[in-house]
């Protein structure tokens, strides 16, 4: 579909065809290979997979970084794990890609139609040249008939995307850009056919009808290809973290299942570092939970048997056995997703530049055409002549360049942003990004890295001991202690017999002394952070404090946005003190702390009510509502799947300093779209009076159409 008729469903008829058509190369299994890049990788992957029993064929697609595997056996599903393991042994990362067996059927369908329209257009134009340069009566008539024989089937085949979209719009009692397009194509082809049958001397409109179809199909294909690239990259990201769960059966056996297969009452085991796939209650084990994705809170919270856990949380230190209470649609996570769904229906009502142009253009063209017919019929009482003029008005005003003007610019800009690591997923995202005046950041994981950093300067000896204890632990505070010791060049003390006590801390022995590093409460102390305590005189407890690390480029990125004239705000679910500290470091004045996900969305809606256009930048589940409510939204690639799917733009590089150039690129693109629409209208300004005066010949129509389409496309690609 072109941007000219965004209200319709994307190519419904081709989707149906794709389902019905037999797939020549059957692919039972699709794996995503994020790291392959060369001929040697292709050969190695294909050789590895072909050597596996149960694989009858494997074909790598380097453009998509995927491998399509045809299984020999009846159960391809069972192969997945073995194949991924075999590829890992050969040195390739691979992930299962769900439902990606579909290849680009709509794209190939459009290409086929473009090919047919192009072939027919060239042949008919060659025949028309003879007629325009004055062929004799019989020859001209013969050429008309041959043109008709080529043009009519070609129009019937190539024009189908427009016809079906126009029919759909008319059934819904709406007008879209495809209605005047279809009318012009059909009238031009029909009247020329009638002319050819009765042997009219006047040249036909076949080439105009075909050129119209050809150029508009190119615009439609550009639009499709641009968004397909972004969609397939987004699917790859989702495959990187397909949620799985380790289910413990009634007989104690454990099996890996997809998270969506869980149901209430199941028992699941979670190892340190696992993300919870469902809501539930802890049956066994103690640990600490990282809830930052749900709440924005950076401090881990301890959890013990009987404690409630929610999907999206990460267990940090201990193994947990969790009884599932709610899974799938009912989880807290899915309820957040509902918030997103309602907001997205509001956003889809945003009408882009092309829509607004079409809304004015489509009725105007029809009125002009009808008026031309009536006026000429009244003046000359010659029905054929009046119809001819009306057709020439419809063909010449037909938004050939207008259909290309917006998709060409958005495709070029989207491709440029893609190379800079920005995935633009939504069709109208560029136009909405160009209007942004307030940029709203989430704190945890967006402005900060999510990793903790040790503050203050603890005594080297204490740091060495703490680092010695912390070496074996995956807790963020432990990692921060080890990193701080490394940064100061302090070797960790040789602590032995390290045991991690989940939910509390780490215990070990140094020489004859027992050492403990953990939550202050566990060591009988007051305070935040982590404490180190030993036995005896040397064992006076030492308290370590932590803060979040700001992303290195955050200060610069915020300054660049402010220099570009945007206001900045910070919304966080975290405690006021840490929010105020980050806001101070970045010089952000509007900072709100301790917000729930609903509060964030409400805050943004309040700004929207004030007439501000907001860009929400966030990565957590607690941001999804806000991402969906905001005028435009952006999520880093490290964000959770729900946040990424709610966002218009995914930042693959994760670098915040890409935001300011992106906004200026979006503004540039919209300026270019307006220019293009202006150019297309300028051609019409010249051509419409000629057409109304009955002076427009098919030659003029062909010239105007091709040159305006070319101008608009060239204007889109120029830097």
């Amino acid at each position: 579909m072109t941007a000219a008729c965004p209200a319709c469903a994307p190519l419904p008829e081709s989707a149906a065809r794709a389902a019905a058509a037999p797939t020549p190369a059957r692919a039972d299994l699709v794996l995503h290979l994020p790291d392959i890049h060369c001929a040697a990788c292709i050969a190695s992957v294909e050789r590895t997979l072909a050597a596996e029993p149960g694989v009858s064929a494997a074909r790598v697609n380097l453009s998509l970084r995927r491998v399509f595997v045809t299984a020999a056996g009846p159960e391809p599903e069972a192969l997945t794990t073995t194949l991924i393991a075999a590829l890992a042994a050969a040195g390739h990362r691979a992930q299962r890609l769900d439902g990606a067996a579909e290849r680009d059927a709509p794209g190939r369908d459009l290409l086929m139609r473009i090919g047919v329209a192009g072939f027919a257009m060239m042949n008919v134009m060659l025949l028309s040249v003879a007629v325009w340069s004055g062929a004799e009566a019989t020859t001209a008539r013969l050429f008309h008939l041959i043109s008709a024989a080529i043009a009519l089937p070609a129009v019937a085949f190539s024009g189908r995307p427009f016809f079906s979209s126009a029919l759909g719009a008319l059934r819904a009692r709406r007008l879209n850009m495809d209605v005047p397009i279809s009318l012009a194509i059909l009238l031009a082809a029909g009247a020329s056919f009638f002319g050819a049958l009765v042997g009219a001397e006047r040249a036909g409109w076949f080439d105009a009808a075909l050129a119209l179809t050809f150029f508009l199909l190119i615009g439609r294909y550009l639009d499709h290809a641009g968004r397909r690239a972004a969609r397939s990259a987004a699917a790859d990201l989702a495959a990187l973290e397909a949620p799985q769960a380790l289910r413990v059966g009634a007989d104690g056996r454990e099996e890996i299942v997809a998270a969506r297969a869980l149901s209430a009452g199941d028992l699941i085991r979670l190892r340190p570092g696992d993300r919870l796939p469902a809501d539930g209650v802890v049956e066994e084990g103690v640990s600490e939970l990282d809830r930052s994705a749900l709440t924005g809170e950076t401090r881990p919270e301890p959890v013990a048997p009987g404690g409630a856990v929610a999907a999206g949380e990460v267990t940090l230190t201990g193994q947990l056995l969790v009884r599932v209470a709610r899974a799938g649609r009912d989880t807290a996570l899915a309820r957040l997703a509902e918030l997103v769904a309602t907001a997205e229906t509001q956003r889809s009502r945003y009408s882009g530049l092309a829509d607004r142009a079409a809304a004015i253009y489509a009725p105007l063209v029809h009125i002009l055409g009808a008026a031309a017919f009536v006026a000429w019929f009244w003046a000359t009482a010659d029905g054929m002549r009046a119809l001819d003029v009306a057709i020439s008005v419809l063909v010449i005003t037909c938004p050939c360049a207008l259909g290309l003007a917006v998709p060409a610019v958005s495709t070029v800009t989207t491709a440029r942003l893609f190379r800079r690591g920005l995935l633009v997923k939504s069709r109208t995202a560029l136009e909405r990004l160009a209007e942004v005046d307030l940029v709203v950041f989430d704190k945890t994981g967006t402005l900060t890295t999510g990793a903790a950093r040790l503050t203050g300067e603890p005594a080297p000896e204490a740091l060495a001991r703490a680092a010695g204890l912390a070496r074996g632990s995956a807790h963020p505070y432990s990692r921060a202690i080890v990193a701080a010791a490394e940064a100061r060049g302090i070797a960790p003390a040789p602590v032995e017999e390290i045991t991690e006590i989940p939910g509390s801390g780490v215990e070990g022995r140094l020489g004859g002394q027992r050492l403990r590093l953990g939550r202050p409460a566990w060591l009988g102390l007051e305070g935040d952070g982590v404490a180190l305590a030993g036995e005896g005189a040397e064992g006076a407890p030492v308290l370590f404090a932590f803060e979040e690390t700001l992303r290195p480029e955050a200060v610069e990125a915020v300054a660049a946005l402010r220099a570009a004239g945007h206001d900045i705000a910070l919304l966080s679910g975290d405690a006021p003190a840490s929010v105020a500290r980050i806001a101070g470091a970045l010089g952000i004045e509007t900072a709100e702390a301790a917000l729930s996900p609903e509060d964030k969305a409400a805050w943004l809606e309040a700004r929207a009510a004030e007439g501000l256009r907001t860009l929400m930048v966030g990565d957590g589940l607690n941001d999804t509502g806000a991402l969906a409510v905001a005028h435009a939204s952006l999520a880093p690639a490290s964000a959770l799947d729900a946040a990424r799917s709610a966002a218009d733009v995914v930042l693959l590089s994760g670098r915040l300093d890409a935001i300011a150039p992106m906004l200026s690129a979006a503004r540039g693109a919209v300026a270019r779209m307006r220019q293009n629409i202006g150019l297309a209208l300028a051609y019409n300004m010249v051509a419409i009076p000629l057409a109304l005066a009955g002076q427009a010949t098919p030659l003029l129509a062909a010239l105007a159409m091709s040159s305006s389409s070319l101008t608009v496309s060239l204007n889109a690609v120029r830097r």
């Binding site: 697609n61 453009s63 290849r103 190939r108 290409l111």
Partner: protein
């Protein structure tokens, strides 16, 4: 002008041949993986015997 009887079928036929070649290349998935096609020419697996 009688030569047209020959020339027109020939020119349209040549055009149709081009279209048929395009349709075949599209059906044979020649445009599915442009980057892979660029890389595969460096692949030496099928240098000695053709791919079975």
């Amino acid at each position: 002008m009688n030569v047209l009887v020959l020339l027109i079928p020939i020119s349209v036929g040549l055009g149709l041949a081009g279209l048929a070649a395009f349709v075949w290349s599209l059906r044979a998935r020649q445009y599915d993986d442009p980057e892979g096609a660029r890389a595969r020419i460096l692949d030496d697996r099928w240098d000695d015997e053709p791919r079975p």
